[in-house]
């Protein structure tokens, strides 16, 4: 009856980079000393920061990057299954971004040019190891495959924008970005 109240349960957060460049994760780390404050409130599940390979039940999932291959789709669906709130972080997750610049090209032409025909590039033919995920015909943003709860635009979103999203969510508020934090570039 008189036991000390247990500390509030930490929110469990998973992050991943699909067809992205890890720039959004770098921007996440850019919140600097606020990371220490954050770690009092959250714990990480699957993330490049923990090297946990599969996502368990989580309160929040942060997805960087769009979908360029079959594995991206599997990982995204795993996140959607296990995360109560899923956030698309950065331009690539939101509209395909830089990887989607291949979308007006034929995939076979791209692979042949890179691995076979282009001088100084083509070495050994198109990789076909069964371990390699197959590329998708086109790169897609993640909202075309799963329901996404919130979007955080930017290339990358600034550390302040990421911090605003996290603190809003931790406080139980709908995240909002004012002028200067909402950027597509």
């Amino acid at each position: 009856m008189n036991a000390a109240p247990s500390p509030p349960k930490k929110l469990r957060v998973a992050t991943t980079s699909l067809a992205g460049c890890f720039g959004c994760h770098m921007s996440f780390l850019d919140i600097d000393e606020r990371l220490l404050k954050l770690l009092d409130l959250i714990e990480f599940d699957r993330s490049p920061l923990t090297d946990i390979k599969h996502c368990g039940p989580c309160d929040l999932g942060l997805i960087e990057g769009g979908l360029c291959n079959a594995e991206n789709v599997h990982v995204l669906r795993e996140f959607r299954t296990h995360c109560k709130i899923l956030v698309a972080v950065g331009a690539c997750a939101i509209n395909g971004g830089l990887p989607a610049q291949r979308n007006h090209l034929d995939l076979r032409d791209v692979l042949e040019e890179v691995y076979q025909t282009e001088h100084l590039l083509g070495r050994g033919g198109i990789p076909n190891d069964p371990e390699l995920p197959l590329p998708l015909n086109k790169v897609h943003p993640i909202h075309e495959v799963v329901k996404v709860d919130y979007f955080l635009p930017g290339c990358p979103p600034s550390a302040d924008a990421i911090w605003k999203l996290l603190t809003d969510l931790l406080a139980g508020r709908t995240p909002t970005l004012g002028h200067g934090l909402l950027h597509y570039d």
């Binding site: 897609h140 909202h143 996404v148 979007f151 955080l152």
Partner: protein
């Protein structure tokens, strides 16, 4: 100005001169009505529908509706801004709008309007249309991926430059596009010049000057400094 020439815009008194549209009067007064295809220097086109307001309870384009005394006009209501955001999302998915690699980012009317209306995602499935660029001209690059069909370049070239370089043509969402008025269809084979009014009219990143890239860094550009709704006076007619 006639003292009776006043209408209400979101409860605010807006004075106007006879013959002015709601958009002209509001802009002159410094009140922002979201818009893309309207430009103070040219006759209204009325095509983007972003400036749709409610006039005495009925929808109308503020750029083509003449102001009348006593009108009650709704502008920045949740209902209208929701519709505007949906229109913007359709603009973003039907073109290839990749802001991080666009030289117009930060100075772009489409982007600034989307910021103003808090557009967080394209919402719809992307079209990823195939729209080749035209880099044939020695001084100007045309990147049609970003075209929103506002036709301001068509009007500016015809009315100010007297050249008739551009035209709207084709049908359907993927067929309609800007055509170049030359046998080859290339800009290099027209009399277009970098000093033309049409060269500086594009609200998005289609008509770009070559060798002028990123003179002002991202983050220090027009709409990085202040939202588009706070820069209305500069566009006043």
């Amino acid at each position: 100005m006639n003292a009776n020439n006043i209408f209400q815009l979101d409860g605010e008194d807006i004075p106007f001169r006879s013959g002015q549209t709601i958009m002209q009067a509001a802009t002159h007064h410094g009140t922002y009505i979201p818009h893309l295809c309207w430009h103070p220097d040219f006759a209204a086109h009325g095509s983007c529908k972003l400036c749709t307001v409610k006039v005495n309870g009925r929808f109308g384009s503020s750029c083509t509706t003449e102001a009348q005394p006593g009108m009650n006009v709704e502008n920045r209501t949740a209902e209208l801004d929701d519709k505007r955001r949906t229109l913007l999302q359709m603009f973003f998915v039907e073109g290839n709008h990749f802001c991080p690699s666009c030289e117009k980012s930060g100075n772009c009317t489409l982007q600034a309007t989307a910021y103003e209306l808090k557009m967080m995602s394209p919402h719809f499935d992307m079209f990823y249309p195939d729209r080749p660029v035209d880099a044939s001209h020695p001084d100007i690059l045309l990147d049609f991926n970003r075209c929103i069909m506002c036709s301001l370049c068509v009007t500016a070239s015809r009315e100010v430059d007297g050249k008739n370089v551009f035209a709207m043509g084709g049908r359907g969402i993927l067929g309609r596009r800007i055509h170049i008025n030359s046998e080859s269809g290339k800009l290099a084979d027209t009399d277009f010049a970098a000093t033309d009014r049409a060269a500086s009219i594009c609200p998005v990143g289609v008509i770009l000057r070559k060798r002028k890239g990123f003179a002002v860094p991202i983050g220090e550009r027009k709409y990085d400094l202040a939202p588009i709704s706070a820069q209305v006076k500069e566009a006043a007619p």
